[in-house]
């Protein structure tokens, strides 16, 4: 599924911004729906949930962003982008119709068709790290019979900082998955869970038997989510993390994203916690 037949790996596919959704109350997170300009590029696009792509703004540069859409959502790609640096700031100023390059898909992705098949899945996400887990969840729901019980725990600072609010509501109403949405502190008008993700995870996480956890969030959240899981018997090889590091080429060459001998861009971004524990803490 990797994009090896693309002759020049530095050349992005031309695309256009088809729609922009402002996700959060601080307006710092927007979801861009991108359509590749050439129909054949769009038709042949395929990726694994958890992979990323380079968003390429000619004149500004490139940024690695997780693909927020599932490969089962055909005809477009979704990227949820936090405004932080030069390229993301430029992107946030762009309008629908603007040209944008897409280089990818890059990296390995979650093993949705191998290691995760047949297992109970726990998705644990904090803040705006929910993006590739959204892709994964949608993929799994589209192949529902391939997985056991699906549990999602998602937290943000405030109700207004949650991503994909409409979809969260829809998922909460499904009876083939369990959805726990939490915010850090109680807020007016909020009738859901209140508490940090690790606390909620400790309360609702299922038994580790035949299960896998996919965790994305700030390092501090991951750190505090592990003890409650370990307490009920989870081990490091059942836990999948998605790392991020500064990247330039996305091809495992330029040297920016290495963590010891592995490149986050090429060997990752998805690693089991057992794999990460063997590496220097350089992410």
């Amino acid at each position: 599924m990797k994009n090896t037949d693309q002759k020049n790996p530095y050349l992005p596919y031309p695309g256009r911004i088809d729609a922009i959704t402002i996700e959060t109350e601080d307006q710092n997170l927007k979801t861009y729906r991108i359509i590749l300009e050439k129909p054949e590029d769009m038709a042949s696009w395929n990726h694994i949930p958890g992979q990323f792509a380079m968003l390429s703004l000619a004149g500004k540069g490139e940024i690695p962003i997780g693909i927020a859409s599932s490969p089962t959502e055909k005809g477009h790609l979704l990227f949820t982008v936090n405004r932080a640096g030069v390229v993301t700031t430029a992107l946030h100023k762009m309008d629908v119709g603007a040209r944008i390059g897409i280089r990818g898909p890059l990296g390995n992705g979650f093993p949705v068709d191998e290691g995760l098949k047949g297992k109970n899945i726990v998705i644990i996400a904090g803040g705006f790290a929910f993006t590739t887990l959204r892709a994964t969840l949608i993929y799994m729901l589209a192949h529902r019979q391939d997985y056991g019980k699906i549990t999602v725990i998602y937290g943000a600072r405030t109700p207004g900082m949650l991503l994909y609010k409409e979809e969260l509501k829809a998922w909460s109403q499904r009876d083939d998955m369990e959805m726990f949405v939490t915010i850090d502190q109680d807020a007016p008008g909020w009738d859901g869970l209140v508490g940090f993700v690790p606390t909620i995870a400790g309360q609702v996480a299922p038994s580790p038997e035949n299960s896998a956890a996919l965790i994305c969030g700030p390092p501090i959240m991951i750190k505090f989510t592990m003890p409650p899981l370990e307490k009920i018997g989870w081990t490091d090889d059942q836990v999948y993390l998605s790392l991020e590091n500064r990247m330039k080429c996305g091809l495992g060459v330029c040297g920016h994203c290495n963590v010891g001998p592995v490149y986050v861009c090429k060997d990752g971004p998805v690693f089991t916690r057992a794999e990460v524990q063997k590496l220097p803490v350089e992410f």
């Binding site: 050349l11 004149g59 500064r246 060459v253 920016h256």
Partner: protein, 342 residues
């Protein structure tokens, strides 16, 4: 392997012929420094001794290199759609490449295996190497899997002897370069023996016993990473990055866009893991924010991470980093320190 015996006039003839269709480069001495220069066959005697200040990577991984071009004029139909910028250029012959530099091209082609730009440079550049008669005090190629008589990465390997050169023909392209001399100038059995003796003599290395690459591959990653000597190194290192820019096998790069009056290019240029910004996230978080982490990363990449991935060390023992380091850090000491960790 075919060995030819060429005299000085043969070399002159060859250079003149090569120069008709290709660009010739060689290490040339000037102002007490050896550098790569275009050469004119008639005014050229022989390559300068020792390794040039800049490594051979300037030919294969130019500084900077244009990857893509694009227009930012909104009226253009293809505005903001980059297209590849891949000029083939004239073929080049680099004469007098020392075994360490020639070997570095082979080592760099491991990470750049799928890189179309590196491939074009490699396909259009021929290496006529010169083996080394006398090692410099900073040379240690034999520690790293190379040899002063090494031929890896070369199309032709020349060894200076009394009255001319013994030329080992190492590739099809090398054979083509030699033209009719390939068939008329075969070395005598005595001359072949002479070359064999020189090669044998060169194998008597002075470095650590065994193959450092193999020994380090077997050592536990985190034992090497957590060694105490890194702090001592970090204390003296000033993170200037000179070693990374001079090193033939340092290949880290950055990619940036440059736009002038609506015409833009996406370039890649040398970067260094010695620099704090190299790893800094847009959030401000920096996974290698401390100097010790950066110093360690450079040596660990060369001596442990690269061997784990590709086999050999990412070091050819050219000694440039030892020669030019402003605070006298010596990679040979780092290797010894790592090899001694149990």
């Amino acid at each position: 392997m075919k060995i030819l015996k060429l005299d000085n006039s043969d070399l002159k003839t060859l250079l003149t012929r090569w120069n008709e269709t290709r660009d010739l480069f060689s290490p040339v001495e000037g102002n007490g420094k050896v550098g790569w220069q275009r050469i004119e066959p008639l005014a050229f005697n022989e390559p300068a001794e020792g390794v040039p200040r800049a490594s051979i990577k300037v030919f294969f991984f130019p500084q900077p290199e244009t990857l893509l071009e694009y227009s930012t004029r909104s009226g253009d139909r293809d505005a903001y759609v980059p297209r590849p910028a891949m000029g083939k250029g004239r073929e080049r012959i680099i004469l007098g490449v020392r075994p360490c530099d020639a070997r570095s091209v082979m080592l760099n082609s491991l990470p750049f295996a799928n890189d179309p730009y590196f491939k074009v440079r490699k396909d259009t550049t021929l290496i006529v190497g010169f083996t080394c008669e006398r090692p410099c005090s900073t040379c240690f190629c034999s520690w790293t899997g190379g040899s002063p008589m090494g031929t890896e990465g070369m199309d032709i390997a020349m060894t200076k002897i009394e009255g001319g050169y013994l030329a080992a023909v190492l590739s099809e392209k090398g054979k083509e370069l030699l033209g009719h001399l390939h068939d008329t100038k075969e070395a005598s059995p005595e001359e072949r023996k002479q070359l064999e003796a020189l090669r044998k003599q060169a194998q008597k290395g002075t470095g650590p016993a065994g193959s450092p690459a193999e020994i380090l591959r077997k050592k536990a990653l985190m034992d090497l990473y957590n060694a105490t000597f890194w702090q001592k190194l970090a204390d003296s290192c000033i993170n200037c990055g000179a070693c990374t820019f001079l090193c033939p096998t340092c290949y880290c790069f950055d990619i940036q866009d440059e736009t002038v009056k609506g015409k833009g290019r996406r370039i890649r240029y040398w970067d260094s893991c010695m620099f704090p910004l190299f790893t800094q996230h847009a959030s401000g978080h920096n996974p290698r924010g401390q100097k010790i982490q950066r110093v360690r990363n450079r040596f660990m990449h060369k001596l442990k991470y690269f061997p784990e991935r590709f086999g050999p060390l990412s070091c050819v023992g050219c000694g440039r980093c030892i020669r030019e380091c402003p605070v006298n850090i010596d990679i040979r000491e780092v290797m010894r320190d790592l090899l001694s960790i149990q």
